[in-house]
């Protein structure tokens, strides 16, 4: 029985190995190419590096430019996440625990935001940010990112807040908690897993955003990693090996974050998709 099952599974494994190779090979190719010199890369495009030459990686890691981009991306991601989670938690609390006229209309307004791509608003948003003097200012990226993150975050958090039994709120009120006291001291601590999920989503979205930083940061001071990668390729177009090394180093934070927060990320994406 056991061996029969194994042989029956063989074609399935074969499919997985082939697909897995197609997924992994571009990434491995970039990692290996980063260890070659550009000269070696043109002579030996797909083999292992011989000799292994870590100079591209160490050169980039040793320059302040790369770390500045990492710092900018981090700062913007953290600021966006704090803002969007705080505002969404307040709003989701109100949607989940208060009955008031117009609530469903208001909620529909927020959920409609999910249907519309950022590109639609990009142009007028740019003009607005320009007139507010927010170009080349991190707030010019943080505020719109938070605004566009609100719908998804509110939907996920509302769903979670609704599951918390009403008796808890009654008990808190009897103990002298006002609405904000209940929100802050009872609801938020209980919602920690959901808050983790939406935070991870917000961090990844901000970290990978390209369009908005491209519009807002004309000057290199505040460039984020995705912008930096594109610029680096333009700057060192002929030096393939260096571009590969840069790419790999730029991927590491996102992949590492995924490794640590896989459960929250996947859970958040599936929850967001099915509840939206």
């Amino acid at each position: 029985m056991n061996t029969r099952r194994k042989t029956r599974n063989l074609p399935l494994h074969l499919v997985l190995v082939v697909v897995g190779a197609l997924m992994a090979v571009p990434l491995l190719y970039a990692v290996l190419s980063g260890f070659k010199s550009t000269d070696q890369l043109s002579r030996n495009p797909i083999g292992l590096p011989a000799p292994w030459n870590p100079g591209n990686y160490t050169g980039i890691l040793g320059s302040g430019d790369f770390w500045r981009l990492v710092g900018n991306s981090t700062l913007i991601a953290v600021a966006t996440t704090v803002l969007v989670v705080v505002l969404s938690a307040l709003a989701a609390f109100s949607f989940a625990r208060f009955a008031f006229r117009g609530r469903e209309v208001l909620f529909t307004v927020f959920t409609m935001g999910l249907m519309f791509p950022f590109a639609v608003a990009a142009l007028p948003l740019f003009l607005l940010l320009r007139s507010l003097g927010l170009l080349d200012n991190p707030l010019g990226v943080v505020l719109p990112q938070a605004a566009f993150g609100l719908p998804m975050t509110i939907i996920i958090l509302r769903g979670f807040f609704r599951q918390i039994p009403g008796e808890l709120e009654e008990a808190a009120t009897l103990d002298g908690c006002g609405p904000f006291g209940f929100f802050w001291r009872v609801l938020l601590p209980m919602a920690r897993p959901a808050l983790g999920t939406v935070s991870v989503l917000a961090v990844v979205t901000s970290w990978n955003n390209f369009f908005l930083p491209l519009l807002v940061f004309t000057d290199s001071t505040w460039w984020t990693l995705p912008i930096g990668v594109q610029q680096f390729q333009g700057q060192y177009a002929a030096d393939y090996a260096r571009v590969f090394a840069y790419l790999v180093l730029a991927m590491v934070p996102a992949l590492a974050f995924y490794g640590v927060a896989e459960r929250q990320l996947v859970g958040g994406l599936t929850a967001g998709a099915t509840k939206g």
Partner: protein, 332 residues
């Protein structure tokens, strides 16, 4: 830290404790107003940000689309519907619509079925499935910009990885100019999009498959249904809500595609990979024809709106009804 928020520290009218029920009618009305104020107070910060940076810009794009406008000062040179009539005579814009349709059709016909097949495969007890699951999803967490730069080098004509691998296995004929050839640029782009996005859809399907009760497939097995019949008649119908959501996300994603194209080809060669968002960007930010670019935004908005409404009206509604009843039934 929490002591700042002790009940005594509360300020503002919206947070005052409920009034004593002295006179019942007035008290109740006051309490209701108070309730409304509190609820709206919690909403306010999010609402201000959302209206200011999402809704108003979208409305402004609609307004600006009726003007000839360079983007400085307020729009004043009214153009009526000229921008829109010009759009529908613009071969690049019409090409954008065709390319958008191309990506939608290929995604629905190839990418999503592929993602479904992988999900069904990885839903079985196979050795190493956790590793495969993680690997297939990994590209989704990479930035589009990084993915774009990576694949512009993988598909570099002549000396990229793709041509070398094809050459090594004796399939030189399949290699070519990839992104540089007008006739293959969109297909190559679609390959990259599949590499990047199928894992996301696969994860959605896997989550859906986990919620298919095993008793049902077992019952079908006892009734003598083969593997295909069990999939077709038991699993697939139960997966339908997930499939519909995934189709919706895929279509919206194709309509708004920008980052990947901008990084890899900037719409070239000769507009052959341009998308709506790229054309909008070209006119709005490079040529300062903001009124015309706004008209493109409005068309994108219109496509999304019509599609969303039609989809919700005809396809999603049943799911939402189903979802609410099961939620009550489970007590979750």
């Amino acid at each position: 830290m929490t002591s700042t928020f002790l009940p005594g520290g509360r300020t503002g009218p919206d947070l005052a404790p409920p009034p004593p029920p002295a006179s019942r009618g007035r008290g109740r009305r006051r309490r209701r107003t108070l309730n409304l104020l509190t609820a709206v107070g919690f909403q306010l910060p999010a609402l201000v940000l959302f209206i200011g940076l999402v809704l108003l810009p979208m409305l402004f794009a609609l307004y600006a689309s009726f003007f000839r406008w360079g983007g400085f000062g307020m729009p004043s040179d009214l153009a009526g519907a000229d921008n829109f009539t010009r759009l529908f005579q613009d071969p690049v814009f019409l090409g954008d619509l065709g390319r958008c349709l191309f990506l939608v059709v290929l995604s629905l016909a190839l990418q999503l079925p592929f993602a479904l097949a992988m999900a069904v495969l990885l839903n079985q007890r196979l050795r190493g499935r956790a590793v495969y699951r993680m690997l297939f999803f990994a590209p989704y967490v990479l930035s589009e910009a990084i993915t774009g730069v990576l694949f512009s080098m993988v598909f570099a004509p002549g000396d990229g990885l793709a041509d070398h691998v094809l050459g090594a296995v004796g399939l030189d004929g399949l290699g070519g100019e990839w992104f540089a050839d007008p006739s293959t640029v969109m297909a190559t782009l679609f390959l990259v999009m599949t590499w990047k996005y199928f894992g996301f859809h696969m994860m959605l399907y896997l989550a859906g498959l986990q919620s298919v009760p095993p008793e049902l497939t077992e019952a079908a097995l006892i009734d003598g249904a083969g593997p295909w019949q069990r999939f077709r008649n038991v699993t697939l119908p139960l997966l339908a809500p997930t499939l519909r959501i995934s189709v919706f996300l895929s279509v919206i994603g194709s309509v708004q595609l920008f980052d990947l194209v901008w990084v890899v080809t900037q719409g070239g060669p000769d507009h052959h990979s341009e998308t709506l968002a790229v054309t909008m960007f070209q006119y709005g930010f490079k040529r300062y024809q903001v009124g015309y670019a706004s008209a493109i935004s409005v068309v994108m908005f219109g496509i999304c709106l019509v599609f969303s409404l039609a989809y919700q009206r005809f396809v999603l509604r049943r799911d939402l009804e189903g979802a609410t009843t099961t939620m009550r039934g489970d007590g979750t």
